[in-house]
């Protein structure tokens, strides 16, 4: 018996069809994976099931009855809960307040005052029932990402849903946390819940699911049972052609002895005065890619901010080819030969409401060929833009339009073009392929390797473990603001790095502190 079924479900945003006559069916007590590239329309589909979006046409059947879902509360009333890709938690509130948000317990039915004690007790019971690890009185802003996800799941379980939708739940977890989550999910399935998981990590699909639906450009292109398929087959369905799943760093390590980038003893604190970077030291040689691995929230963000001039150090020294650049501003760093692919492309890399041309010069808008006597040379800028678009195969609808209209991959390519074309000697690449489809990943990875092969240095920071492992010549792992170990990607396994990322040091990590 199918518990959820959609019939020709369609969603249009203006002229753009995000979901095109989607037909899927989920059986009771199964784990269903939905895969697809970024922007394929997975979240849109789930948002319609959860009532956040209204379908343009088509039907949703719940328990084989046609149902109109008028918003999240309605969905929950129908026993359907969702954990979003971007958590919907309130950082300044506590765990219990977040779980009970919208369903607060009052002193009595007439009293307007909330009963704090009763609420905490209730949440404690819930946590015990599902054997999650959480303290109900912690503030969300103080707990780990994994913990936040557990809060999101509990939020739904408290509301007694029997269908749970998880949108890219593993993106921010360590391999160990992923395993734990999978155990939790399988346990929930055993207790009778139905689970839909959205992901584009094919390895996880194979490990977790009972059946898979593949969506491409808003259409269902495949519906298979997990046991009948393979990663390669799924990848081909997703992209529509054969793809190299990961570009391998096959070239021999030609790293020279010359140190291109040296970071010594760097520390910094966050707004609350907590030391979020503790004595970070490492160096990158010419012709080398140094990967930084770690679970998000362990200081990589701060490290990147410090290294790209967005944050100041409290201590330590950074130098590029021997030149001290500690606490220099981003423009000075760029003048010193640093190229930057920032962590969040729409926050730090691009301005979505400015034109493509304007974005093509950002960060390099003072160089003489675009700026003379303080005035911008519009003609040269347009030429530059046209060159980028051609050389990097950036697909733009309206060449005079804003960057916000570009797809994620193409937007990222603007940054890649801008930074590589300025001939840096050192590149800091932070999450270079986040939110980019498999085809573009291939392209970007190749660019980075080529850059390295020309004898330049690269610092690669990514939460995507496979990316770090396949590209880097050396890997350092960050945990709680410190470097917990350095290893060679060729000598360690995925799970060994995973342990290190979780703070558990094993003996293979040579010289835990460098």
């Amino acid at each position: 018996m199918s518990i959820i079924k959609t019939i020709d479900l369609t969603k249009k945003f203006g002229d753009f069809t995000a979901n095109d006559r989607i037909n899927i069916s989920v059986e009771k007590q199964e784990i269903k994976c939905i895969v697809g590239e970024n922007g394929a329309g997975k979240s849109t589909l789930m948002n319609m099931l959860y009532g956040l979006l209204r379908p343009t046409s088509g039907k949703i059947l719940l328990h084989e009855k046609e149902t109109v879902i008028n918003g999240p509360m309605d969905a929950i009333a129908h026993g359907l809960g969702m954990v979003h890709q971007h958590f919907k938690l309130v950082p300044s509130l506590t765990v219990y307040e977040n779980i009970l948000l919208g369903a607060e317990l009052k002193k009595s039915s007439k009293s307007p005052i909330i009963d704090r004690k009763k609420e905490i007790d209730e949440v404690k019971k819930l946590i015990e029932k599902y054997k999650f690890e959480l303290d109900p009185t912690d503030k969300i802003e103080d707990i780990s990402v994994g913990g936040r996800q557990r809060v999101e799941i509990l939020k739904m379980l408290y509301r007694n849903v029997d269908i749970l939708i998880l949108d890219e739940p593993t993106a921010v977890l360590t391999p160990q946390e992923v395993d734990e989550l999978f155990v939790n999910l399988k346990e929930l399935r055993a207790q009778g819940k139905t689970i839909i998981v959205i992901t584009h990590k094919l390895r996880e699909v194979m490990e977790l699911s009972d059946s898979v639906t593949v969506i491409k450009q808003g259409k269902v292109v495949g519906n298979v049972l997990t046991k009948d398929t393979s990663e390669e087959e799924l990848a081909q369905m997703m992209v529509g052609r054969e793809v190299v799943l990961t570009v391998q760093n096959t070239a021999e390590n030609k790293a020279s002895e010359e140190i291109a980038y040296q970071v010594e003893d760097v520390c910094t604190i966050n707004d609350y005065g907590k030391e979020v970077l503790q004595n970070i030291s490492f160096c990158v040689h010419k012709g080398e890619i140094l990967g930084v691995a770690g679970v998000e929230g362990n200081g990589q963000s701060e490290l990147v901010k410090v290294l790209t001039g967005l944050m100041k150090t409290t201590k330590g020294k950074v130098s590029i080819y021997g030149k001290d650049v500690t606490d220099k501003w981003p423009d000075e760093l760029r003048q010193n030969g640093l190229g930057i692919i920032p962590e969040d492309r729409y926050a730090q890399g691009l301005c979505g409401t400015m034109s493509i041309a304007d974005n093509c010069i950002a960060g390099y808008h003072s160089v003489p060929d675009v700026c003379k006597f303080g005035l911008l040379d519009r003609k040269n800028i347009s030429c530059k833009r046209d060159r980028f678009v051609k050389d990097f195969d950036i697909r733009v609808g309206d060449i005079n339009g804003n960057v916000g209209q570009l797809s994620g991959g193409n937007a990222q390519k603007i940054i890649i073009a801008r930074e590589f074309e300025s001939n840096p000697k050192l590149l800091i690449a932070c999450q270079p392929t986040r939110g980019v489809d498999i085809g573009s990943i291939e392209f970007i990875h190749k660019q980075i390797l080529d850059f390295r092969n020309k004898g330049n240095a690269v610092l690669l920071i990514s939460s995507e473990l496979s990316e770090v492992m396949s590209l880097s010549d050396r890997i350092i792992v960050m945990y709680k603001g410190r470097i917990i170990g350095e290893l060679s990607p060729k000598e360690v396994s995925r799970s060994e790095i995973g342990l290190l990322m979780a703070g558990i040091q094993n003996n293979k990590a040579k010289g835990a502190f460098i």
Partner: protein, 304 residues
């Protein structure tokens, strides 16, 4: 001793309308809507309360209509700002201008430069608090204020409860902090923004009635004289906490009281005393901000 008593009494006197604006304004602040129309809402409250009292000789009705008038402005503000998503700073400025223009227009039509309520004596509106009244110093400070002044101080506690102990308060804060989270649990975010703005309007209406009818028995053009902006400064200094922001309102009241009471002794420099409250506010704001950012190592201004 006497002068200290006077200064403290005046502190309460000058603080009351600002506190009302503050405790009303914090909800909008928490809901992430910058309401700079506090000034205009207070002015229209002051105007309508006096006008109504003048025409009906009924002060309670005056206060009621003042609140309704401020509410009407609140509705306009919400409609333009929340429903139509206009720029709230501009809307706030417009409302401030409009309130002043409407009052002036009506006064011109009434052929007068101000409305004086000669049928009543504001001294009769003062409440004598039975026991407190007789305590030396304390009595002279805490007793003999009009009703809305007491309401303003009690309001601090009430708003604190509303903000931190009830669903409504939590939801307003959630809407301000993470609108997506609010939507995901089915909150009508616009409803909470409206409510936050309208609470502010009610309080501003009361503040206006307090300022004009209740304490002076008269309305003159532009009589709010920037008090709404002071309230905004206090809200910023206190970061939207009802108690903390109200304390800043009192600080301003104290500065005003000092400037009025001490200017007698200041000789020719007395004119500069009026600068004190504003300068104090800027200094306090600077100190608060420096403390808040003392650990800030991140460059830039994205959060402001």
């Amino acid at each position: 001793m006497d002068i200290i008593g006077n200064i403290l009494y005046d502190t309460i006197y000058h603080s009351a309308p600002i506190i009302l604006c503050v405790i009303g304004g914090i909800f909008a602040y928490k809901a992430n809507v910058l309401n700079i129309a506090l000034e205009g809402m207070m002015l229209i409250g002051a105007f309508v309360s006096t006008l109504t009292a003048f025409m009906t000789q009924n002060i309670a009705l005056g206060v009621l209509l003042a609140v309704l008038a401020a509410l009407a402005f609140g509705v306009v503000f919400s409609l333009m700002g929340v429903t139509f998503k206009g720029n709230v700073i501009i809307i706030g400025l417009a409302i401030n201008l409009l309130a002043s223009a409407i009052a002036k227009f009506v006064l011109v039509r009434m052929n007068t430069s101000n409305i004086t309520l000669s049928f009543m004596n504001v001294a009769d509106l003062k409440l004598h608090i039975p026991v407190v009244e007789n305590i030396p110093l304390v009595g002279s400070i805490l007793s003999d204020h009009p009703l809305i002044t007491y309401i303003s101080f009690l309001g601090i506690f009430f708003m604190w409860v509303l903000m931190y102990k009830t669903r409504f308060g939590i939801y307003v804060r959630v809407v301000g902090e993470n609108e997506d989270a609010a939507k995901s649990i089915g909150l009508k975010t616009d409803f909470y923004k409206y409510a936050a703005i309208l609470i502010g309007a009610v309080c501003c209406g009361l503040a206006g009635a307090n300022l004009s009818t209740e304490r002076l028995g008269l309305f003159t053009n532009d009589m709010t004289a920037g008090r709404g902006f002071i309230a905004i400064a206090a809200i910023y200094c206190g970061q939207g906490s009802p108690t903390l922001s109200a304390i800043y309102a009192v600080v301003f009241g104290l500065a005003r009281a000092l400037s009025v009471n001490l200017s007698i002794y200041a000789g020719p420099a007395a004119g500069l005393f009026d600068v004190i409250p504003y300068v104090i506010m800027v200094c306090v704001l600077t100190v608060v901000s420096v403390l808040k950012h003392k650990n800030n190592k991140v460059r830039g201004f994205k959060n402001e």
